[in-house]
């Protein structure tokens, strides 16, 4: 078991979540290595980390209570640079084949004492764990965006996980200021298995003429106490990611339970992916009003 007191965390994938994770880790004083094979993604991540730093300062998320002074994330294009990490958090795209390949390559460079976390919306963890030579150290860790201002992590335990690995992950999450709930491994886990049904049905009822996006989201906030409604949440997640997640759930549970609605498919085909493209269920362009 790894008993080092100085923790180094590797983050694989410098997209929205990877950058948010790298920011939150460094803001907590944790040594962080951010890896991506795309130099442009690493450049963009630096901007996202700077923006996340402003947010944390504004909301006090980087305030007192952190274990050490803020660090600077080290950026690299090589997975081999993660060899010294105690924990590696993988955040590549929601494609099981891509994730499997990354985990096999990670497994080859990490020492047996390192823990590997899979940050995924829905991909089953066991399949990825069993594709490596060390399934005992592969655990699901579903972080919420933005990471710095979200206190809870959905941790996913497979039947193959060693207790030392789970303990080590929870210990590092504690250093990171996160609470966690440990659940069993089934596609979508708890959050996305439920949330994706809400989003998919909310999108479908727009086509049925039942309500507007604003009405749907106001009802979820006002009646159920959700912080944001399902359609605005979908805009934040990205509708392309929502469709990919629904595809994974359909493959696991069958098309009668999870098939992306026509509305979602049309919007993704039209490039309306939510906030990141300026248009989703709502408009985020410079002079746009809510859709």
């Amino acid at each position: 078991m790894n008993t080092t007191t100085t923790t180094t965390v590797g983050v694989v994938g410098a997209g929205v979540m990877g950058a948010s994770l790298a920011h939150a880790l460094t803001a907590r004083g944790i040594d962080t290595v951010l890896q991506d094979t795309d130099p442009a993604a690493l450049d963009e991540a630096m901007h996202r980390i700077a923006a996340a730093g402003r947010l944390a300062r504004l909301t006090g998320a980087a305030g007192p209570g952190r274990p050490g002074p803020a660090r600077q994330a080290r950026l690299t294009g090589e997975l081999t640079e993660l060899a010294g990490c105690d924990l590696v958090i993988e955040n590549v795209t929601e494609d099981p084949a891509v994730k499997r390949s990354v985990h096999q390559r990670l497994d080859a460079v990490l020492p047996a004492t390192a823990v590997v976390a899979v940050n995924t919306s829905a991909v089953p963890i066991s399949d990825l764990a069993l594709a490596t030579g060390h399934p005992e150290r592969v655990i699901g860790a579903h972080f919420m965006n933005p990471v710095a201002t979200s206190t809870m992590v959905e941790v996913v335990r497979t039947p193959y996980v060693a207790q030392w690995a789970l303990d080590r992950l929870l210990e590092i999450l504690g250093q990171f200021g996160k609470e966690s709930v440990v659940v069993a491994d089934a596609a979508g886990f708890v959050i996305n298995r439920c949330l994706m049904i809400f989003i998919n049905e909310a999108a479908a009822l727009l086509d049925d003429g039942v309500a507007t996006p604003q009405q749907v989201d106001r009802l979820f906030r006002g009646c159920l106490g959700h912080r944001t409604g399902p359609l605005r949440t979908a805009d934040i997640i990205g509708l392309d990611t929502v469709v990919r997640t629904l595809d994974v759930l359909r493959d696991q549970y069958g098309p009668e339970r999870f098939t992306p609605s026509d509305r979602l498919l049309r919007m993704v085909a039209a490039g309306q992916h939510g906030r990141k493209t300026g248009q989703g269920f709502y408009s985020y362009t410079t002079d746009g009003a809510a859709a």
């Binding site: 504004l58 604003q214 985020y284």
Partner: protein, 91 residues
Amino acid sequence: MSSNQTAAGTTQAATVRAAVTRFLARYVDDTTLLQQHGLLTGGVLDSLAAVELLAHLERQFGITVDNEDLEIDNFDSVDAIVAFVARKAAA
């Protein structure tokens, strides 16, 4: 301050208020929520919208939001944001 300066300041504040309200309207389902305090502390705006607000204020009004400006009191209501922009523009 002359009456002309007061009128100009009032007009500018109204322009800033309209622009800020129009920008923030994209992030809320009910625009009446923008009239209350607690835009950030009350959860009216999510954290990603807060980040985009800072960038928008810099672009739209040609101001710089410095680290020492990142206080919740400067951004927790439309009134506070309008006053903040006026202070930065006058500096």
